[in-house]
């Protein structure tokens, strides 16, 4: 009897756990709550992963506040020759306020795909606004299973006030182990139910009043002030160190290269948000005023030191303290797979007197478009130094070329400007907006304005812009927009094909070939193959044209037979190979010119006629071909 009593006691003690398991099971069965794993299958593209739109909810107490990021699909089965990069971080990392192609990872993607045209790059940005190293670490833990070739990280500015940060979370904010336990528990639907119930109670008790936004923010920000060197300040550093250290150890154990950028902040063009009263050296405002005077007097070393000190002393910690950069450097020293990306040095190099300000940054931490290009350059150089993609980086797209070619449309650029005007009008910047100009708005301004107030989506804005440029017969601008869409939708062959046609209309055959080859890789069609072989023959690259010609002949949709042309190109390839072995052979040069002329390829023919006449200015065959060419040319 005693034995049975003990058994009952044991079973009774276990029953609460069983009850919770049962409730958890029932909640899952009836589809309550969300699965927080990082990737889910792309509903629009079978065989591809995309970031789970609910993945971030785990990090936000009230899921309504949870931010969502990019949805950049990547293949579930990594294709051979693909270089896969994951990007982790915060608002700067996702390109705020431009997003889309303004983000540094798109600049990097564009540059890498032009530097290595035959490689396939998957650069998947998993960054979110308002998050910090907890989210970065949480996401990072799930990445090794998805075969990354490198992981790029830019994080640190949100450490205090970002989701679960020490400055934005009550009581347990300074205890990473407990915060992680809670984050783990939030995977349970039961915990999600509890969370929502408590949030509902809070909302009911507060009466749902949130309209006193400005005053509430000011009042609460006063409670959120974090003094330099205070306990909360140190907890923030510890939190950052713990999360990033575990992240670096994880990737080092898995031998995955990690590139962590040091952080940049506005130094000279942003006065401290909140300063300690008085004019002592502990006052951020005092340091800032002194720095401004020193700068005006040309004492730049002193100015730099004081500007940085002003940032360090700012009681509202929207800018990461320098200690974060030291943590990043220490991690790189400790873990072999970790490389520091010297963004700070790059920004300093491109700022007057090495002091960061409005030349590269929009406000406290977010770069302008030039700044994002610089950030991408810092990562590019770090990847290159590590020789990850290839041992030698030949035929690179230079930084100057990148800045010139990167498809940032006027709408993207204006959207950033408008977004900034709105942001700076409110707390804690409080910069009144200039009165609106009394003039009709351009289509670009209209679209950017609609984007900022979320009247339209970015793809819709781009499609409308494209339609406008096409109607206005501006193929150059239309190509830029098409390229922008191409970067946003790297698996859509239609944009590559369209870009190819536009490049041809702009008489840019080399660029056209690049676009068309990408289009053909994604989807083999007769139309693209036809454009490709014609353009490649015009460029005198018959060996490259041949596979596309063969494809076109096998899938011929035109009324003309391509067999004769195929035979001709076969002969052309052979003749060209002979010619390349003996470039002084005028007969061969003439043969190539005549061949091209037969198929009305005047560009190819002219090239070889010129070669023949250079070798033998009185060569009768070459002269005759030249005369024929002149009759053909308009």
């Amino acid at each position: 009897m005693n034995k049975r009593l003990w058994l009952f006691k044991g079973l009774a003690a276990l029953s609460p756990l069983l009850a919770l398991v049962l409730v958890e099971g029932l909640l899952r069965l009836f589809g309550y709550g969300h699965d927080y794993r990082l990737f889910v299958e792309d509903p629009q593209r079978k065989g591809y992963w995309i970031m789970n739109p609910h993945a971030s909810e785990r990090y936000f107490t009230e899921t309504d506040n949870a931010t969502t990021g990019n949805f950049e699909p990547f293949r579930q089965r990594k294709a051979e020759g693909t270089f896969r990069i994951f990007v982790l971080g915060e608002s700067t990392t996702i390109g705020y306020p431009y997003f889309h192609n303004g983000s540094f990872h798109r600049w990097l993607h564009y540059r890498l795909m032009h530097t290595f045209p035959n490689r396939n790059f998957e650069i998947i940005n998993l960054s979110l606004t308002a998050v910090n190293s907890y989210t970065v670490f949480g996401f990072a833990q799930q990445l090794p299973a998805y075969e990354p070739d490198a992981v790029l990280i830019y994080t640190g500015h949100n450490e205090y006030y970002g989701a679960m940060g020490v400055g934005s979370t009550s009581s347990l904010g300074g205890h990473p182990a407990l915060v992680r336990l809670v984050l783990k528990l939030r995977e349970l639907r039961l915990m999600q139910l509890l969370n929502r119930t408590l949030a509902g109670i809070r909302k009911t008790m507060s009466g749902g009043k949130v309209d006193l936004r400005e005053n509430l923010m000011k009042r609460m920000a006063a409670d959120q002030q974090i003094a330099y060197g205070s306990a909360t300040y140190q907890q923030g550093i510890e939190q950052f160190k713990t999360n990033l250290n575990d992240l670096c150890r994880l990737f080092s154990e898995k031998q995955i290269p990690v590139f962590i950028s040091n952080l940049v902040s506005n130094e000279k063009d942003l006065k401290p948000f909140v300063s300690a009263p008085g004019s002592t050296t502990a006052s951020a405002q005092h340091q800032f005023t002194q720095a401004t005077h020193a700068y005006a007097n040309g004492q730049f070393a002193e100015a730099k030191q004081r500007f940085v000190q002003a940032k360090e002393l700012d009681l509202l910690r929207f800018r990461a303290p320098e200690a974060m950069n030291q943590v990043i450097q220490e991690l790189a020293n400790r873990y072999p797979e970790v490389t520091v990306v010297e963004a700070k040095a790059v920004f300093e190099h491109h700022s007057p007197n090495g002091i960061l300000g409005q030349e590269t940054l929009l406000e406290h931490v977010h770069p302008n478009l030039y700044g994002y290009a610089l950030l991408s350059d810092a990562f590019y150089e770090a990847l290159k130094k590590k020789r990850l993609i290839a041992p030698e980086w030949k035929k690179e797209l230079s930084f100057a070329q990148l800045r010139q070619q990167m498809p940032i449309t006027p709408v993207d650029s204006l959207k950033g400007v408008f977004e900034m005007l709105i942001l700076k009008e409110g707390w804690p910047f409080n910069e009144p907006m200039a009165p609106e100009e009394n003039r009709p708005k351009t289509i670009e301004e209209q679209l950017a304005g609609a984007l900022v107030v979320k009247q339209i989506t970015w793809p819709d804005a781009m499609q409308q812009l494209l339609a406008h440029y096409q109607k206005a017969q501006n193929p150059q601008a239309a190509l830029e927009v098409t390229e922008a869409l191409m970067l946003e939708y790297p698996y859509d062959p239609a944009f590559y094909g369209q870009a190819g046609k536009l490049a041809l209309s702009l008489n840019q055959p080399e660029r056209a070939v690049w676009f068309l080859k990408k289009a053909f890789q994604l989807e083999e069609t007769f139309a693209v193959a036809q454009n490709l072989f014609i353009t490649l023959l015009k460029l005198d690259r018959p060996d490259e044209a041949l596979p596309y010609l063969r494809y076109a002949a096998a899938h011929n949709e035109s009324a003309f037979s391509l067999n004769e042309l195929q035979n001709f190109v076969d002969q052309l390839v052979s003749a060209k190979n002979q010619y390349l072995a003996d470039t002084t052979n005028v007969a061969l040069s003439n043969q190539l010119a005549a061949g091209y002329l037969k198929f009305a390829n005047t560009a190819g023919a002219a090239k070889y006629v010129a070669k023949s006449l250079r070798l033998d200015p009185r060569n009768p065959v070459a002269l005759q071909l030249k005369a024929q060419l002149q009759t053909l040319k308009p």
Partner: protein, 49 residues
Amino acid sequence: MEFFQEFWLFMRTRKRYWLYPLLVLLLLLSLLTVMTTGSALAPFIYSLF
């Protein structure tokens, strides 16, 4: 069957063996949730970064 009947009787009469642990568990989970709640400022400052 007799075993389950006896157990049920035990559960009904000795609630402290299962009710208290259940309450403690729920209290602990709630406490963790409350203690990691974002401040009311959080949604506003999120818009800054």
